[in-house]
């Protein structure tokens, strides 16, 4: 595979334009030069022939009178206008009667000779005829100076025009880029932003060009669909993630959620220098209810306890079911033991009402609660949990001494 740098559309447009222009200009220049050259050459030849005939007509009496000076004067009067380099008048025997050379030859001889070879295949000649008798011949060599200057000027003009055209091409390519490639680059930029930044809300603006707008509309529609899918996926993912951390029976956080929440709470308490409390709860007589009324009854009891916990707790407090009949509550920053005690008391109170089972029986239960406060009872999550757990067992043991019932 080639590793060559990729072309941008602008470069490609510029190149294509340049080639097109160069091709068109060169083609036009070549055809014009060719046809113009042929026409000019034919005109030059005809002009030289005409000058030769005019010279012949003008100098004819001078030749008849054998007046050399008059021959020269006659030639000069006709040929002095330019376009003629040399005029020779010969008699029929080939003797030169007069030679006239244009005194105004400004270009070097080799250049004039080359120009002459290109323009005139032969010197122009005209017979001197007097009363039907041939009395001599005029032979004229052309002077291509004016034509060379014309060709030079033409070449300069052509090159200037070419340069202007190239500049115009650049400008046109730039304009084309602005009008066509600009919108395309918008699309590319939006696509890039969508891919890298997930900004599905970006849309391609209206470009004002039918094809690109149609493309942009489809692209936007695609983006809208993508945005919908993305939103759905994100929502479902969030739900899934939430479900992983939820206890399906009570709707409270599960053990995983608690294990994530406890260190978070510690960190938050450290940074804000506030205290919080961990309440470890265990349902009284749960095993007995299960044995007496079945697991469905046990589940109903757990659900009812979950509801009652939620009803008591404040907005920032969190309740979790660790498994079985064990619950943990994280109390948001508390002012003092007073608050914790009050909430614990309220929790106990909330549990006193009997729980109605589906089979019509009502069962009474309660919560054994162990409290550990940060930072008084521990600084690490493990320490806090251990302390709360031990406090809960102490409590449960104390309660079982007070009552004859087995908790």
């Amino acid at each position: 595979m080639s590793t060559a740098r990729l072309l941008t559309i602008r470069e490609m447009l510029g190149r294509v334009h340049l080639r097109l222009i160069l091709f068109a200009v060169l083609l036009a220049a070549a055809s014009l030069t060719l046809s113009g050259g042929l026409v000019i050459r034919s005109y030059a030849q005809r002009n030289l022939d005409l000058v030769a005939r005019t010279v012949a007509y003008t100098v004819e009496p001078a030749v008849v009178f054998d007046d050399r000076q008059a021959i020269l004067d006659g030639i000069a009067s006709v040929a002095d206008s330019g376009g003629v380099r040399q005029v020779e008048v010969r008699d029929p025997a080939g003797r030169v009667l007069a030679t006239w050379t244009n005194p105004r030859a400004g270009l070097p001889d080799w250049l004039l000779a080359t120009g002459n070879r290109l323009l005139w295949r032969r010197p122009a000649t005209a017979s001197l005829v007097h009363s039907g008798t041939r009395i001599g011949e005029v032979r004229i060599t052309g002077n291509p100076e004016a034509l060379l200057r014309f060709a030079l000027a033409g070449a300069i003009i052509a090159l200037t025009t070419l340069a202007l055209t190239v500049i115009a091409t650049r400008i046109l390519a730039r304009r084309l880029q602005r009008d066509v490639i600009g919108p395309l680059e918008h699309v590319a930029e939006v696509a890039h932003a969508v891919r890298t930044e997930r900004s599905f809300d970006r849309r391609v603006p209206v470009a004002g060009i039918a094809e690109i707008d149609r493309f942009g509309q489809d692209f936007n529609a695609l983006l809208a669909e993508l945005q919908g899918w993305h939103a759905t996926l994100t929502r479902e993912n969030a739900e899934l993630a939430e479900r992983v951390l939820l206890d399906p029976l009570t709707g409270l956080g599960n053990r995983a959620a608690f294990e994530a929440a406890l260190p978070r709470a510690v960190t938050a308490a450290v940074t804000t220098s506030q205290s919080f409390a961990v309440l470890y709860c265990d349902v009284d007589r749960f095993k007995a209810i299960n044995d007496a009324h079945g697991h469905e009854a046990g589940d109903a009891v757990l659900m009812a306890i979950g509801q009652r916990l939620r009803a008591v707790l404040r907005q920032d407090d969190q309740a979790f079911r660790l498994g079985g009949d064990e619950f943990v509550i994280l109390l948001a920053p508390v002012g003092g033991d007073d608050v914790v005690g009050r909430i614990a008391a309220r929790l106990g109170q909330a549990m006193t009402a009997p729980i109605m089972l589906l089979n019509g029986h009502a069962v009474a239960t309660g919560l054994s609660i162990g409290v550990a406060t940060y930072p008084d009872d521990g600084l690490s999550p493990e320490e806090l949990l251990r302390r709360a757990d031990r406090a809960m067992y102490d409590e449960k043991r104390a309660r079982s001494h007070n009552t004859t019932e087995d908790l």
Binding site: Y57, A62, F65, S131
Partner: protein, 165 residues
């Protein structure tokens, strides 16, 4: 070109020898002028009258024009020259007054006039010869040409000494 005539006096010989050297040139000029002049009707042969004593008219006999016409030269006294007898008149060594009289007679009658002895061209002859060491040239009197009743090729005007515009 020593084709002088034996009958001439030594003085005349000397003069003729000098004058005779112009004869071919004069003949050529006269012939060429005749060739570039158009008569109302073509004249063949062209009757060339030499009026008065001429110094350089020795070669005017038997001239043939480029178009094949011949020149019939005749010599006569000025008084005998009439438009009906001559198509062209070569005016020889005559006093100015006599030259003037002759040209007045011929004016407008279709007769070409060439003056040999009028370098300033005041005689109202159409053409006046002038002689230099190198060549024979001529002057053209535009007024006389215009009144002559003949047509002279305008290119001849360029050739006349001092006649160029």
């Amino acid at each position: 070109m020593a084709t002088g005539e034996p009958a001439l006096t030594p003085f005349a010989l000397a003069g003729a020898a000098e004058a005779g050297s112009y004869d071919p040139a004069v003949a050529r000029v006269v012939q060429s002028l005749a060739e570039y002049t158009r008569w109302p009707t073509p004249r063949n042969p062209l009757r060339l009258c030499v009026a008065g004593p001429a110094l350089h008219a020795g070669r005017l006999d038997g001239l043939r024009l480029a178009d094949g016409r011949t020149i019939d030269r005749r010599t006569m006294p000025p008084s005998a020259v009439t438009p009906g007898a001559c198509d062209a008149v070569y005016i020889g060594q005559l006093p100015p007054l006599a030259q003037r009289q002759l040209t007045t007679t011929l004016r407008g009658r279709g007769v070409m006039t060439i003056a040999e002895a009028d370098p300033a061209c005041r005689s109202q002859a159409m053409f006046c010869l002038s002689f230099s060491a190198q060549a024979v040239s001529f002057r053209l009197n535009v007024d006389a040409v215009a009144r002559s009743g003949l047509r002279v090729d305008p290119r001849v005007l360029r050739l006349s000494a001092g006649g160029q515009p």
